[in-house]
């Protein structure tokens, strides 16, 4: 069986990371197993569900269908970066307030996708939020509470 290992250096949540990774290691598995950042969840492992969404150089990507070696020299943000201390991020506060999660499995990916949506479009509407989160599956909430949370968080973040 062919394989290869590679030295990578990248920034994860503001911290410089250097590692040696096997060629087939996904970015998601690298984050979870090598860095212990288990907030990134793995659902389908084929790019469909969005649970593993992280921000790579500011853009949302599916970390299950990106190789760790491809993240070399990139800047990553995972859900762990949202609330480094005890205070929650306004988006997390809004999710809490609106019950925009039940089981919580999709939440890390959903939060990062929503953060990207708000950063791209600070005046996001219900309709835009609904379209925007269509990239991520949630089997609990029916999405409406997530839409409510995104719109309110955007309002909070504008202030």
């Amino acid at each position: 069986m062919n394989t290869s290992s590679h030295e990578i250096s990248l920034t994860v949540n503001g911290r410089a990371v250097e590692a040696t990774v096997e060629s087939r290691l996904s970015l998601a598995d690298f984050l979870r197993r090598e860095l212990g950042l288990v907030g990134t969840h793995l659902g389908c492992e084929q790019g469909a569900c969005g649970a593993c969404t992280v921000l790579v150089d500011g853009r949302s990507v599916r970390s299950c269908i990106m190789l760790a070696v491809q993240a070399d020299e990139c800047e990553l943000r995972t859900v762990e970066s949202l609330a480094p201390g005890l205070a929650m991020h306004p988006l997390q506060d809004a999710f809490h307030k609106h019950q925009a999660l039940q089981c919580g499995f999709c939440t890390p990916g959903m939060l990062l996708r929503c953060l990207e949506l708000i950063e791209e479009n600070p005046d996001i509407t219900d309709e835009e939020a609904r379209e925007g989160i269509s990239s991520n599956s949630c089997r609990c909430t029916g999405y409406q509470y997530i839409v409510d949370a995104v719109v309110e968080a955007a309002e909070q973040m504008r202030q």
């Binding site: 069986m1 062919n2 394989t3 290869s4 590679h6 096997e22 060629s23 087939r24 996904s26 598995d29 492992e45 084929q46 790019g47 469909a48 969005g50 969404t53 790579v56 853009r59 949302s60 990507v61 599916r62 299950c64 269908i65 990106m66 190789l67 070696v69 491809q70 996708r113 925007g132 269509s134 990239s135």
Partner: protein
């Protein structure tokens, strides 16, 4: 599931990638965005021994409008240009708005952040949006091998399900999408069970109108055959017509005639055939409206 093991190589340029393909042989695959290939590998439906990553190849990460010698200015898309960048580019909206519309219908934004336009064309999924739009507008594929480059017209590129005329030792370095003259309009319609699922059928169409008469037309269907299907019979009906409701209905009927689409859980063959006709009609109506508007305004779409 996880991907089976493979050896990873990063190519810094098109020639290095071609040299690697030449050296590694049939067990090597090109990795660009990986948004089709890596899921297939995670599902263990593909297990190449080598991946040659071109996503950072400096000479493949571009998107611009060429200044053609014949006056036409095609959109030129490098193999490392992401779908999202191409979708949002003013160049694309000017030269090939049908491509932007096709991309917007393909996958999800996070997937389009990594997926490439060239990768989707080279992957040659018969139900994918980008190949259908590319074939409808027309253009060429620039294939790189160790020996140099060759140009393959879009209509000769696709030759079966997930299959193209590309040789094992070649990669697609870029694609050119032809510019259509002023007075052109496009339509792109697809039917899918949900916004996120694979299309049941796709229709991509362009027409050009001069003095109220169609003098150029292109109709392509996706999801109803082993490749995106070019429908010259429908184009023949449109030529010389006023692109009115009657001509469009006749062209849509001709586009669907003779199709024998596959059946799957998303739709039976008979349903796909019927939808091909409906979608062609709607795509042509959009194209006619845009072409008519463009002609009246004396400018493009």
């Amino acid at each position: 599931m996880k991907s089976p093991p493979f050896e990873y190589k990063r190519a810094e340029g098109a020639e290095e990638a071609a040299a690697l393909l030449n050296e590694l042989g049939s067990d090597a695959r090109i990795l660009a965005g990986g948004q089709s290939l890596l899921p297939l590998m995670n599902l263990r439906l593909a297990s190449p021994a080598f991946l040659v990553d071109i996503s950072r190849a400096g000479d493949l990460k571009f998107l611009h409008i060429d200044n053609g010698s014949s006056g036409a200015s095609p959109l030129h898309v490098g193999a490392a240009a992401t779908q999202r960048d191409v979708e949002m580019s003013a160049h694309t909206l000017r030269v090939a708005p049908i491509l932007a519309e096709a991309i917007a219908n393909a996958g999800q934004v996070p997937v389009r952040h990594r997926g490439t336009v060239v990768g989707s064309i080279a992957h040659a999924d018969p139900s994918a949006e980008v190949p259908a739009a590319f074939l409808a507008q027309g253009g060429s594929v620039i294939a790189q091998s160790l020996g140099g480059r060759r140009v393959i017209p879009s209509e000769d590129f696709f030759d079966g399900v997930f299959s193209t005329v590309l040789e094992e030792v070649e990669l697609v370095a870029s694609v050119r999408v032809d510019e259509w003259p002023e007075g052109s309009g496009h339509g792109f319609r697809e039917l899918s069970v949900t916004a996120e699922s694979w299309p049941v059928a796709i229709a991509a169409a362009l027409i050009h109108i001069t003095d109220g008469e169609v003098d150029r037309a292109s109709v392509v269907l996706g999801g109803v055959g082993s490749t995106p299907l070019w429908r010259p019979e429908a184009e023949a009906i449109l030529m010389g017509s006023d692109a009115g409701a009657e001509a469009i209905e006749a062209a849509a009927e001709a586009a669907a005639a003779g199709l024998e689409p596959p059946s799957d859980t998303f739709g039976s063959g008979a349903y796909r055939k019927k939808m091909a006709r409906v979608l062609t009609r709607r795509a042509l109506a959009d194209a006619a409206e845009r072409a008519g508007a463009a002609e009246r305004a004396g400018g493009k779409q």
